[in-house]
Amino acid sequence: MTNAPNDFAALARQYWGLWSDALQDAVPQTEQVPGTQAFREALNAWTQAAGGGQGGFDSVLGHVRQQSGDWLAQLQQLAAQFAGREHSARDIVQAWRQMLGDNPFQDLLHGMRGPGLEGIAQWSAMAQPWLQGLRGEAASLLGLPAFGFTREHQEHAQALGKAHLRWQMALEAYNKLLTRISQDAYACFESKLAEREEPGRQIGSVRALFDLWVDAAEDAWAKAALSQDYRRVFAELTNAQMQLRGAVQAQAEQAATALGLPGRTELDSAHRKIAELERQLRRMQRDAAPPTSTPAQANATPAPAKPAATKSAAVKKKPVANKAAPEPAANKSVAARAPVKAAAASKASKRKTPVKPTKPVARKR
């Protein structure tokens, strides 16, 4: 039987020893600090040690490692390049850019995937049987008129091809926008770093450096994401993806129908009918119900514990401070009173137009 914490501790000492030696040796001259690999290996070892090598748990911890450990490893690497040497804000940003690439936003958003939320790339892979043929077909073929016995099928295939092209263009535009936001984020990062060049305002830890990057990236994101430009590009991406999904679903449904399997359309149609029938039934029940019951009560489950025995017990009892309130009079209805009250009740409901306060409402708290 293994002792995971101790095993990992021994292994980690070895890795971090390497890491520490690499840092202590000299001012690093290379982009890839020798200890960085050890750092990553330590994190991998941790994932295995914590998960006990169990497949399911390892994948969970893999997410943890990816979303926290990998960032820490990269930041250690970044900071190590400038530890104990003269540097500027620009140097740091250049090094960070080299590590993350020109479009870190794209990479980050690409990481937001999971079961039930396949990225379009993953989703495209699933849709390959229907998309594969399109690549060979030139876009020019998509506009040709369809005719003959299979004209409907040809048109479906053409619609799918057009949708795929539209989606590719939309994705390209979205990635381009993300690249622009990424550049803004780098510029913002540099400016925030420059503000900390003076002694006394310097950044003293890897975590503080990461926090500053996050601030810069979020500032750039907020500015872009509230823009008309983002609204337009994001909507086109979503709409194009939906059109493409719809076209693929139609093809898949045709294939299912050929195999005698029910498709989405058929099930939706059944569900729509059921929902509508249910509404009609409720309407009829409501219309047919005597005025002394409410529709809700038909479905009421047994009353909560200690129900008030009679209506009068519930109604007549005055609220007294610090005394228990009456339990619900579950077996009695106010419906008999409610309609009367309701008739007088809503003078407001007779109004045809919205009513605005006639005087300014002072804030009361």
């Binding site: 400038f82 740091i92 310097q202």
Partner: protein, 359 residues
Amino acid sequence: MTQFFGPLNITAQSLADDAGKLQAKLVAGISTLRAMDDVSFGVTPREEVWRDGKVVLYRFKGEQPPTARVPILIAYALVNRPYMVDLQSDRSLIKGLLARGEDVYIIDWDYPDRSDRFLTLEDYIERFIGGAMDYLRGAYALDAVNLLGICQGGAFSLCYASLHPDKVKNLITMVTPVDFHTPDNMLSNWNREIDVDLLVDTLGNVPADMMNVTYLMLKPWRLFAQKYVGMVDILDDKQAMEDFLRMEKWIFDSPDQAGEAFREFSKQFFQENRFVKGGAKVGNREVHLGLVEMPVLNIYAEQDHLVPPDASRAMKALIGSDDYTELSFKGGHIGIYVSSRAQKEVPQTIHDWLAKRAR
């Protein structure tokens, strides 16, 4: 010691020290994570008192019998689960209200599946909220009971209160959007040119993961990277890790959205801003906020990235009530339920406000 200039005051030694601390956290984390049991949530005992299909009305049971005469019905957003207001014993709006003598009910929307795709706003507002309200009115022999709507549930509650002002004694709204077109509303900006018909026709129900990733994208670096980097700090603290995981559950345990209700809500509110511009409809009936004449307590969060304060504050000018009160909470959209400040401020404010109107 040589003084180097630049934004970083980091030395090889300090980096090695940081790495050592990280190592210690990771080592401790192995034991912590392996010792974690299933994280519990939803702590207050409750009992089912009414149901309509999957939708269930629960009554919470406090340690003491309630002293309030009029019960409160809580309606939260369709994207959440009921334990959002009852996460753990020291983070529970429900516990706070019960401890102050309120009689609290909550409507559980459950998880819609594809057979629920055709549920509409009318179903959610008239059939489910309306059904629960009628049940409570009947059970307590009251003409009207209190309604507390949260986020989208607040928008539903406003619709219900406008359509049935005689049935709502007091209306409380929390982080509720009213003006969906304020310039700082990122979610609304993204929604405005989406072809919602195409989206719903294609997807049927809107998957929860799609909703969640949209929320993450509002602050992608903070919510997808920084949060988990920060988690390393608490790897050696079992209690803190349990709290963290409970919040993860809170955030990501989301039902899919019934397609037709999503379609109606997105188009009427996100895209057409009909609370402000008029013409919002539930079924065939038009919603006029001017008819909301009962007392209203509107609670919003100052740092809310989902429902900006101005989106919520717009209610004041639109409703007909001349008994309108605001609570400006120092915190965010989630902190308003789970922060320690919220536990002190929110239930007490609601209780005091209701007590004044119970006399």
